[in-house]
């Protein structure tokens, strides 16, 4: 088992009883520990990013508590449950997305929320971050892997249909994450490199077409701003200039906790939500960023370990895709804040203030834990 050599294998027999407790709870202690460490550290940064507003940290703690409960619940369900329910959840999700476009509510020119009587307001697109990879994994794992071309085409349709609906809201960030989640399933399923190359080629052709036919003006503006923030330093370029200034002025070891001038003097916009990594970079410097990225990397390594050790193709594909989606979050957010990518509404996972994405992310980790802890102990 080559994959297992990468990561720590099972603990020795001495810890058997402890392992037993975790098994009963269906939790993975290593992943849980890493997540808790990330969340705790994130709140320290959030307190600074929210300009010492403890109420914000409290609210975030409550949300994280809820998210952890969601994770616990998702971990209890056997992966086969997700597999059986995947098609139905997918259909319900599609219906909800259509409903959002028809009767949804929202703000700032985007309809993202669905307010059904008797149910709490929710974002169907958020749900699809889990459901789309489940559906893709369900479909592809029914057949021999690697999939045939027709199967790839169907899988792509499964992914692109909800993605298109979400783009219509418009919510480019979520569409990107949903699409990535689905496409990583296809990738892990083992489509040939020729197809991947062809696909990337198509994307590079499609990009200019997107520019002219799909992207809205404000999205185009964001791209233009990325290329030349100084063109509008007080308008659209402000965010990028100020976040780069915050990051750059942090230096090796940062200005110290609560000492970041860019964030505390209100130069940095969205300092407790999408741009919170700039606060961390300003106050804890390059070293702080290395620590953050290391924690993220450890989480991803553990998740890939879980994926590699999953018992069936469905589990493997789903776990792998969820792990890579988590990475996309990280890369897009930090890339955007540091001026590598255009500004897209993607939060820094488990650190940015906000409930919805945290709950989704924790649910995904719950699914991963479920995949890991519901294995039947038959060794090869």
């Amino acid at each position: 088992m080559t994959g297992s050599q990468l990561f720590s294998q099972r603990a020795s027999g001495g810890l058997g009883s402890r392992r037993g407790l975790w098994s009963i709870l269906h939790l993975d202690p290593i992943l849980l520990l890493l997540l808790l460490a990330l969340v705790a550290g994130g709140m320290v940064v959030l307190y600074s990013g929210a300009d010492r507003n403890f109420a914000v940290v409290e609210a975030q703690a409550v949300r994280m508590g809820v998210a952890l409960v969601v994770m616990l619940v998702f971990a209890q369900l056997d992966p086969s449950v997700y597999r059986r329910w995947a098609p139905w959840l997918y259909l319900v999700g599609l219906g909800a997305l259509v409903a959002v476009l028809a009767v949804g509510v929202g703000a700032k020119g985007a309809q993202r929320w669905l307010a059904l009587p008797g149910l709490p307001r929710f974002q169907p697109s958020e749900l699809m971050k889990l459901v789309v990879p489940m559906m893709a994994a369900w479909y592809l794992s029914r057949h021999f892997l690697p999939p045939r071309l027709s199967q790839v085409a169907i899988a792509l349709a499964i992914v692109l249909l909800p993605m298109g609906l979400i783009v219509q809201q418009p919510d480019l960030g979520t569409a990107l994450l949903v699409g990535a989640a689905g496409l990583f399933v296809v990738f892990f399923a083992g489509i040939s490199w020729k197809l991947i190359t062809a696909f990337l080629g198509m994307v590079s052709v499609a990009a200019p077409l997107m520019w002219f036919f799909v992207m809205r003006d404000y999205q185009k503006q964001r791209v233009l701003t990325l290329l030349d923030p100084q063109s509008d330093p007080l308008g659209a370029g402000w965010n990028i200039i100020q976040s780069k200034t915050a990051i750059g002025s942090g230096g090796w070891s940062g200005k110290g906790w609560l000492q970041g001038t860019q964030s505390h003097l209100e130069f940095l916009p969205e300092s407790h939500t999408d741009f919170i990594v700039a606060v961390l970079a300003e106050e804890f410097g390059f070293i702080g960023m290395l620590v953050l990225l290391s924690v993220y990397l450890l989480i991803m390594l553990r998740c890939l370990y879980i994926a590699v050790n999953a018992q069936d193709s469905f589990g493997r594909l789903l776990a792998g895709a969820l792990t890579m989606t988590f990475f996309i979050y990280i890369f897009v957010n930090i890339g955007m804040v540091s001026g590598l990518l255009p500004v897209v509404g993607v939060p820094l996972p488990l650190i940015s203030y906000g409930g919805t994405s945290s709950v989704t992310l924790m649910a995904a980790f719950g699914v991963l834990m479920s995949i890991h802890t519901h294995r039947r102990m038959i060794t090869a």
């Binding site: 794992s141 892997l145 892990f188 230096g251 594909l317 890369f331």
Partner: protein, 631 residues
Amino acid sequence: MPWGEFKDTAAERRLFQRRSLVALAIVLLMLGGLVARMYQLQVVEHDTYTTLSDKNRVQVQSVPPTRGLIYDRNDTLLAENRPVFSVTIVPERVPDLEVTLATLSRLLSVSEEDVERFKRRMHEPRRPYQALPLRYDLNEQEIAALAVHRHELPGVEVAAELVRYYPHGEITSHALGYVGRINREELQRIDPVNYAGTNYIGKSGIESFYEDKLHGKVGYQHVETNARGRTLRVLSRENPVPGEDLKLHLDLRLQKLAYQLLDGRRGAIVAIDPESGGLLALASVPGFDANLFVTGISVAAYRELSTSHDKPLFNRALRGQYPPGSTIKPMMAVAALDSGVTTREREVWDPGYFQLKSGGRRYRDWKRGGHGWVDLTRSMAESCDIYYYDAAVRMGIDTMYEYLDQFGFGEDTSLDVRGALPGLLPSRDWKRATRNEPWYPGDSVNLGIGQGFMLATPLQLATATAVMANRGQWVQPRLLRDVVGDDPLAAVLPEATREDMVLKNQDDWEFVVDSMEEVMHGRRGTARRSGAGASYRMAGKTGTAQVFSLAQDEEYDADEIRERLRDHALFVGFAPVDDPEIVVSVIVENGGGGSSTAAPVARELFDAWIDGFPEEDEVVSISALPTEGDR
């Protein structure tokens, strides 16, 4: 289970493992990209971004110096600085000006006029990001209301600034001048560095003349501001150097008395210390409250002041140019004696008129029947015109010009009195240049009694009288007595340039002064009623200036002519005669006769200066006095 173990082959597992390794490689590669990006920003370009960050938060603010205070000779405060709270707006930081203005009008009383003035200032050339005042003098309630709503009002600040305040308002406005907000032309002229934090500048008078001394030197502070420009803390500070305090010759008590005496009339009083030339009083009545101009006068109030028939904004003491009338006679007497056209004993026959040649135009004496035989002393005491007609014609314009010029007529001899006018001393050349006419002997006749072309300001009359009181020794009028600062007075005050007047016979000074004493104390002196009962001896000369000329034989009755067409009453004099302590000139516009209206005013001033100041309620304005048509 439909997903039998059969399908879950080792091949699929191996495929997934390979893909996972690829994914891991991609992850590591991209994370490496992020790390590289961070390294680029945080390590390689760290200095650049540190500079940007500091430029963001640290701003250099100028700290305006405190304006120097102004005191009178007894250390009574005449101009001070009072903290005033005003609401200011930085237009560049306001998202929607109309909304902000509407919100502010809800929170505090903002008049349309305030808004208008604010918008006018906004559209004038100004420094960017400069806070513009909307309303001054907020009360505590309004400050509290603004503090509560501060977060809704970006760009709006309550600013405390020291604003000039003149505690004696109207009394000192013409003597001190005033400060006001820096306007467009001044902005071009001033040193932009030193005035970086200053909003006010001396507009007139002492405030303008000694602007450099009063202003001081600007200070600086580095402050940390947030993105909305709000100052959070001071990082470092270089204190400003406050302006120097000035001490004037002015005596507020005398100044006040002057205003009380002229209350209800129009006129001017100038009092000079003959030893130093210091201006003890500089009054122009009516005055105006200079405090109105400091923060910007309203259009309505300004219109009222500027269109008033009494012209309260007009500084009569410095800029009122009047025919000196008979008050010129002492100087004429000196000229006539020194030039030799007359002697102390020479007598002139006064039939009531003077003719250049038999059958020509008759130049009338004020006394219809004439004074008979008149010598110089009597001509002064009774203000005989014929004597001076005769002397003037004998001297001719060139001689008269030479002497009057030495008395300072026709130019501004003051050292630090801003805005003083030179009057008009006519000459042959002047008449040729302005009227393209030769100088006629008749012009000399008129000049002999201070009528015709000649014009003089009350300040000039007082200055010439001071030369008389000093028996030829010149003292140029000045306001500044001392500087409370590093500079010695001599370095601040402009240098005096006038040379003393020396007569062929220096005793002639005493002779003319004696004749002026006769005016006050002589049996037939025109101002004998004003000179009576004094504890000291005084010298003076009454005068009456015609507002419009009468035809040769026209009768005129002061009661019938509208008040504003009546003659101006004048008086010049000094006391005590032998050791003068005070010189005054008084003009009461349309006051009628100099002896009945102007001389009593001078007497009150002399008494106050020499015997002590009266209680305020004892002072009676000359409006209450009866007026006569005499001289």
